[in-house]
Amino acid sequence: MNITIGGLKINYKISGPDGGTDAPVLVVLQGWGTSLEIYDSVAAAVNDRYRVVQFDLPGFGASDEPEEPWNVDAYADFFCEFMEALGISKAVLLGHSYGGRVIIKLAARDSLPFEIEKIVLVDSAGVMPERSASQKFKVKLYKIKRTFLMSRPVHAMFPEVIDYWMSKQGSEDYRNASPVMKRCLVLAVNEDLQHLMPSVKQETLLVWGDLDLDTPISDAHKMEQKMPNAALVVLEGTDHYSFLYKPVEFRNILRAFLGIGGAA
């Protein structure tokens, strides 16, 4: 299904009890570079009792891209509009990776047009990694190289070779992103949300893979420490997509947290 918000076509789907019922709502906020289908197993885990909303954020999956680079606050603002457009006044928010970032921003706000009942953060982003001196040096060196190579006279000498070199730089997420989304990603990864975490007062479940390299388990420990009502569950032997690697364990943990025991 599609809905237009702020001129952008947004792809979404809803599963679970009919809209007419007063079933509780769970909204899934996705990770960077994913599309909503990847969270089908998450929806299937609880949609016998919850209406589960899956959607693609602007620039993700099948949704339109924003015209200008958006920071995390802009995505949070968009989410508020999305909730209003769907008429949802109360929901459990589940965020994976980048989606977790957006939820932290929302939960730390003084007022929202909807109520956040509970929060589930899965391998969530939000803690900026501390860079060592050599990493800082590498970043500076890269910036110097990029400035030199992308200067007009130098680029004109070897355009194909320089463009090829540029296309190899950065993380996989960065390389796969469009120019606008690349800038969105840069805005996101350079923002540390740790100062907002004490303001996340809702009951929060942190689910993490101990082998996660994108958002390491140390981030989960920091979040658990800083969020007043957070508890951490580690899915051993899983990485940044812990919910995909251990779907049964994930389902049981999620159902227990939501107080809906029994099989889906």
């Binding site: 000498m157 070897f158 194909e160 070779v161 090829y164 070199w165």
Partner: protein, 122 residues
């Protein structure tokens, strides 16, 4: 002087090898057809302009050795040649990588052509 020649050699050998390897690879991808290779070179001459620049630089340097005795000229010429060789190494390393979908196969024919190129160069 020996040190300068040694630096030129240390930079010249990898630069020569990378240029040779890249063009040999293209020749192989053009199925060793002279006309196809000539057409490919014509269409892609903008990629390898630095080789023409390096040849002109080499000629100017040799002529300078014969006609200009000022020591600064020799040093300046060598530095310019080293810089050009470094650029060739960096650029051709990436150009070799860019065409890595179907890698160069070192067939007996390729080995013979490489040996001939080296003899001609020497």
């Amino acid at each position: 002087m020996i040190i300068r020649d040694l630096i030129s050699l240390l930079l010249g050998v990898p630069a020569f090898w990378l240029v040779l390897r890249y063009n040999m690879h293209m020749f192989q991808l053009n199925t060793y057809m002279n006309n196809e290779q000539r057409e490919w070179l014509r269409r892609n001459s903008h990629l390898q302009w630095i080789l023409n620049f390096a040849v002109i630089l080499g000629i100017v340097r040799l002529a300078g050795r014969a006609f200009i005795s000022a020591p600064w000229f020799g040093l300046a010429g060598d530095i310019l040649i080293w810089f050009t060789l470094i650029v060739i190494i960096l650029v051709y390393r990436l150009m070799v990588e860019m065409n890595s979908k179907k890698p160069l196969k070192f067939t007996p024919r390729v080995k013979r052509m490489i040996a001939s190129d080296i003899v001609l160069y020497l």
